[in-house]
């Protein structure tokens, strides 16, 4: 039995896990960096250990200090959340070696999935499709070209030529037609040799117009491995997901079964235990290919929770304690959408923003869930990730979920820090989002020159009226500050008394 859990994370995911523990009647320990002492997640824990150190490396990434904190406070288990230590096999091993439970898969499973080439091979063996690709190592020009042409027919078109030791686009060539292959391959090799002194070329199928579709899996120590359906997370900016939904609008039940089976096979191939996510690229052809497996809870897990009715974090705790999972058969219902609210200036190249949350008023009402680690009065600092909150909606249908998301974003008021709320709101009106035909390039395709908010002259004028009224009426809404501990009415008495005078 796990009676006490240390949460080795911060912000909204720490709050999420702490609430799950509280509901499960498990005691909690939070760890925090000195600059996080006033953060919301700290208030939710039964105990707090303040980590020594200034940087993230010295605090949230210092597993030695964190394991010691767990031992000192008598915690039985460590939940790593996501990011930070969550995919560190060495840490998972150190936790277990210290006699504690790691709320996550075994270190070996993390390792097998963490190395991308190993993972690719493991998946191939398990019969899970990977993106077709081959490396050609020959140095001799003619020999290399021969091998490249042979490989290209096996990989299929369109394809991508990449310098094996490359990066930054150098040596990369997209080829859509076999007739262009020869010239493109020669050019790619030339560039690769010039840039890296290494002519090795990797040929990979080019999957343009693909969707990012991932399958949530759960596996317990009693031999049960299930999947909880898919999430679509195609809408990305610089590989950063911003809009996630479940189910995928275009997935057929047959394809869901096939991808679900593949994900379960992937998990079973590494004897997975706990919650994990198998990410796939879903090509327009309906073919899907393994990308990677995330061996932890994921940011976008709430959309799966809302459509399946499974409390994934609670199941993680159950599985870690050795109990069987409590989920019944997959029962998908309705549609869920999550957007990630960032403190960032979407109109200015999505530059992170900082400032006080002078007003932070989330929307309310049916079908809305907010996972956040901040509250009105907090300061957004540059110390950590600028994600303020995840706003998640559920509705009986996709159309209604999108309508609800629009309503929720319109209700959300944040003042004092620039956020991407308006960007998210206008994203809900993009044709591909409305139709469910989003791909990994939807944001770039929609706003090739960067996003700018739609203009509304009346509302802008009225906002000037409001600002001027604020100034005229002196509506200096107090930006709340912590205040000083020192008293203002003379030095306090050293004798503290509580005296009840009853008549």
């Amino acid at each position: 039995m796990i009676a006490k859990v240390l949460v080795a994370n911060r912000g909204e995911i720490a709050c999420r896990i702490l609430r799950a523990c509280q509901e499960a009647e498990i005691e909690t320990v939070a760890v925090c960096a000195p600059n996080d002492l006033e953060s919301m997640f700290v208030e939710m824990a039964d105990e707090v250990v303040v980590l020594r150190g200034d940087s993230i490396g010295e605090t949230y990434l210092d597993h030695t200090q964190i394991i010691q904190a767990a031992l000192d406070t008598g915690a039985h288990a460590i939940h790593p959340g996501f990011g930070f230590l969550s995919e560190r096999a060495d840490v998972a091993r150190a936790v277990v070696d210290a006699g504690l439970v790691w709320v996550g898969p075994r270190a070996e499973a993390i390792e097998q999935m963490g190395d991308k080439m190993t993972a690719r091979q493991t998946m191939r063996k398990a019969g899970v499709p990977v993106i077709p690709g081959e490396e050609v190592e020959s140095i001799d020009e003619d020999q290399a070209m021969l091998e490249l042409e042979e490989a290209s027919t096996r990989v299929g078109y369109p394809l991508l030529l990449k310098a094996s030791s490359g990066g930054g686009g150098k040596g990369m060539r997209a080829v859509t037609n076999p007739s262009e292959f020869h010239e493109a391959a020669r050019a790619a090799r030339r560039e690769a040799v010039a840039a890296f002194g290494d002519g090795r070329i990797y040929i990979e199928r080019l999957l343009s117009g693909s969707k990012h579709v991932e399958i949530q899996v759960l596996a317990d120590s009693h031999g049960t491995t299930i999947h909880l359906g898919e999430r679509e997370c195609s809408v990305q900016r610089r590989h950063q997901k911003v809009f996630e939904e479940a189910p995928c609008a275009t997935l057929t039940p047959e394809l869901r079964d096939a991808m679900g089976d593949a994900a379960v096979a992937a998990a079973e191939a590494v004897a997975y235990e706990g919650a994990g996510t198998v990410e796939f690229l879903l090509a327009p052809s309906g073919e899907f290919f393994f990308l990677e497996m995330n061996t932890r809870i994921q940011v976008e897990h709430p959309v799966t929770e809302l459509v399946t009715g499974v409390d994934i974090v609670r199941e993680q705790l159950r599985i870690a304690s050795g109990a069987p999972m409590s989920c019944g058969p997959l029962n998908l219902r309705g549609h869920a959408i999550e957007v990630r609210l960032y403190a960032e200036d979407a109109a200015n190249n999505f530059l992170p923003a900082i400032g006080p949350l002078a007003v932070f008023q989330p929307p309310q009402g049916p079908g809305i869930r907010l996972d956040t680690g901040v509250r009105e009065g907090d300061d957004v600092t540059p110390n950590y990730d600028p994600m303020l909150a995840k706003l998640i909606v559920w509705a009986p249908s996709r159309v209604e979920a999108l309508q609800r998301m629009r309503r929720a974003l319109d209700e959300f008021v944040i003042l004092g820090t620039t956020t991407n709320i308006r960007f998210l709101r206008e994203l809900c009106d993009v044709q591909a989002v409305i139709e469910g035909t989003t791909t990994t390039t939807t944001i770039d395709d929609t706003w090739p020159n960067g996003w700018q908010p739609s203009e509304n002259q009346s509302i802008e004028e009225a906002s000037l009226l409001m600002a001027a009224m604020g100034e005229t009426l002196g509506l200096h809404r107090v930006h709340r500050t912590g205040g000083e501990v020192s008293g203002s009415t003379g030095p306090p008495s050293p004798f503290a008394t509580l005296q009840r005078r009853y008549p």
């Binding site: 208030e43 009065g377 205040g483 501990v485 306090p492």
Partner: protein, 156 residues
Amino acid sequence: MQHTFSSPDGPIEVTLGKDDGAFALAGHRAILIGDGRLRVTLGDGRIMFGHVAKVGDVWWVALGGHTYRWERMEAGASAGGNEGGLIAPMPGKVLQVLVKVGHTVEAGQALMVLEAMKMEHRIVAPSDGIVTMIHFADGDQVEQGASLLEIEAESE
């Protein structure tokens, strides 16, 4: 830093101490961490976070799922002249007066029925005693805080 708060049982005098940067009382410690938010370390070591807000003379406190209401009294003041007086808790109408002056009543006995917010509310005797004054009759409107009737405790 001495303050007096009223309680149903009488005034409570509080003298705050200071302990390593925190305020202290009866073995508990607290520091201010935000707008009306405090971090409290109870005498048994448990850490809790609570809220305070002042409305009029009353400090409202939320801590550990409980809410308290502490009315500030001027230091040294008596508990006030309301002993035995029964105060209208909200504006409303007197539906029925159930006792008469001179009646002996028991603690918990219903004395008056008020109507407010479309519901009936019974005003009950806080202690055994004799009804000495009744300030309203059936059908009267009463303001919040009005003294409704008075009870004198029987000689103890």
